[in-house]
Each structure stands twice: as structure tokens, then as C-alpha cells.
């Protein structure tokens, strides 16, 4: 089972994503914005997967992905974006920043878990 960092400024969204991941036995850490997530990710061992929202205060999700990819320990860690944004342009930005995949909300718990399993390999 994996250690997963879930990043979202919405408390109910952190709870929903957290409960979904925990139901599959994963260990879940949460952060409320990109800045907090980057601080958590920079210390200690890297997590196995990061799932981040896009629109958040302080640091948005796409900047977070970009910053994480600059850390040597996050070069190979899957980074998933989970957002209400569905435009091709935003997805392209995410891809260029180094995201592994893009999931559009509202999310289906089973499909989220399938995707998590797929990217964790």
C-alpha cells in the first residue's frame, strides 16, 4: 500500500479523496495548498504519489507539479492532477509541467482507485 499526498484547498474534497484512498488501504497525507504540499514533500522520504487540485491559494497545482519535478527525489514519482478544469489548454500546461495524468471532477471513487493503481504500477 502506498503513501499518498492529497492536495486540495477544499476541506470536503480532501476528506472525500482521503476516504476513497484509505478504503483501498493507502496511507494518506493532506495539504491545503501547493506551498504547504511542497514543504511537506521537501522533507524526509518522498511519498509514492501526489494527487493535486489546480486552483488553490498560495501555490496552484500546476506550479506545485513543476516545483516537485525540480526535486531529485520526485523525478520518478507519479503526480496526478484532480480538478474541475477540463480545457485542453490547461491539460497541456499540466502535461508540460510534468504531471502524470489529469482527472476531471466530480470524480468516481472506483475510477480514481483504478487510476491510482495504474500509475503506482
Amino acid at each position: 500500500m502506498a503513501r499518498i499526498l492529497a492536495v486540495d484547498d477544499s476541506a470536503s474534497m480532501r476528506q472525500m479523496v482521503g476516504l476513497t484512498l484509505k478504503s483501498a488501504g493507502h496511507d494518506v497525507l493532506t495539504a491545503a495548498d501547493g506551498d504547504e504540499a511542497l514543504k511537506m514533500a521537501s522533507v524526509g522520504d518522498p511519498v509514492d504519489l501526489v494527487i493535486t487540485d489546480v486552483n488553490m491559494p498560495n501555490m496552484d497545482g500546476i506550479s506545485l507539479v513543476r516545483e516537485l519535478r525540480l526535486l531529485p527525489q520526485y523525478k520518478g514519482v507519479p503526480l496526478l492532477v484532480l480538478t474541475t478544469e477540463a480545457s485542453v489548454e490547461r491539460k497541456m500546461e499540466g502535461k508540460q509541467a510534468g504531471a502524470t495524468g489529469w482527472i476531471v471532477k466530480p470524480f468516481n471513487p472506483d475510477r480514481l482507485l483504478e487510476t491510482v493503481a495504474k500509475v503506482l504500477g
Binding site: D9, S10, A11, S12, M13, Q15, M16, L19, T20, S23, N55, P57, T84, E85, A86, K91, G94, K95, A99, T100, G101, W102, I103, V104, K105, P106, F107, N108, P109, R111, L112, T115, K118, V119
Partner: protein, 218 residues
Amino acid sequence: MSSNLLNSAATHPKPNAVRGHEGIQRTWDPHADRWCAKILPGEYYVTNHDEAITTVLGSCISACIRDPAIRVGGMNHFMLPEDTTNGKSAWLDAELGLATRYGSFAMESLINDLLKLGAKRERLEVKLFGGGRILASMTDVGKRNIDFARNWLRAERLNLVGEDVGETTPRRVLYFTQTGRVLVKHLRTLESRAIATREEQYLTSFKQKPVENDVELF
């Protein structure tokens, strides 16, 4: 009438819609003395101009949300899908989970678009409308919508500054995004059947097309 409309349109050019909201119908409202966006069940609209937003609510609910500091505001209009779980509360339960996900999505979409216009989460002022039990024969779906919206706002620590919810009449809501003023007209119950039918059609439309996440791996 038409010359008034023409004069108004000439002196008040239609403001540009925020990107992604161009599809919402807007007309000049002589009573509001503003351009007015009319939203239907499942839609939402945000603006950084001096506009009004209107909708008609039966058991659906609308959140009117604005950031008074930078004068941007918006409104959504939604209903939770039916709860067939007899009160089970597990989030992972398919039906209840669907309701929570759908409601959160409706609230979050509106708030995200306000944040994109520069609003700050901690400054947001929220007002809630609707959730009426407009047909005596119906189960009280309005109450579920009200409970969801209040609980969600509490969980998100957002500031609920006013509401006109519940009761048995449908409502027409007119929201002035720059000032936060809201005019609510309780409609005659004669109109309830037509409004309930439209809301049922909206519910059926997303039952047929399940709320699914679109996943793309790069």
C-alpha cells in the same frame, strides 16, 4: 418597449462574459436596470461587471457568492441526485457518494471561477436560496439540498450571511453581484407543477449520463 430596449443597449453595452460563461443567456432587464444572466438547473454564472443573475427555484438550491472587496460574484443552481440509500452515510456508498460529489462539484466550480477572477476564499459571502417542498406529493428533496449546502459551507468554513430556504413555494431570485443585494419573489404555487417538471427533467438528464470522471494519462 423596443425603443427603450434599444436605448438601454446603446447606453449600456453588454459586458463581456467571463471565459467559459459565454453560453449563458443574458438580456437587458429594465427593472434591474442591468444586464441580467438567466441560469437554468445545472448551470452557473460568474461576473466581474455590474450585472444581475436570476433563476427560478423549486426544490433546487442556489448559492449566491461574492467577494465584496473586489466586487466579483456568481450564482449556481443545482439539486443533489436522489438518495436511495435509506440514510446510510458512508461516502463510498455509490448513491450517496454521487450526491456528495455532485453537490461539491457544483459549489466548487462556482468558487473556483470566482477565485480565478481574483476573489479570496476567506472574504467570500454566501447566501442560499431555494430548497422548497413545492409539491406535497414529493419527498422533501428540498430539505436534502438545504442540508447539504449548509453542511458543505460549514466544512469549508465559508461565511453564510443570509438565506431564504425551505417552505412550500417556488422562488424567483434576482442577485446583484456588485452589492450582494438579493430580491426574492415567492411565486404562486400554481406554477409549482411546471417548475417541478423542469427540475425532474434536469435530474433525469444527469441520471442518464452518469457523473463520471474523465481520466487522461499523459
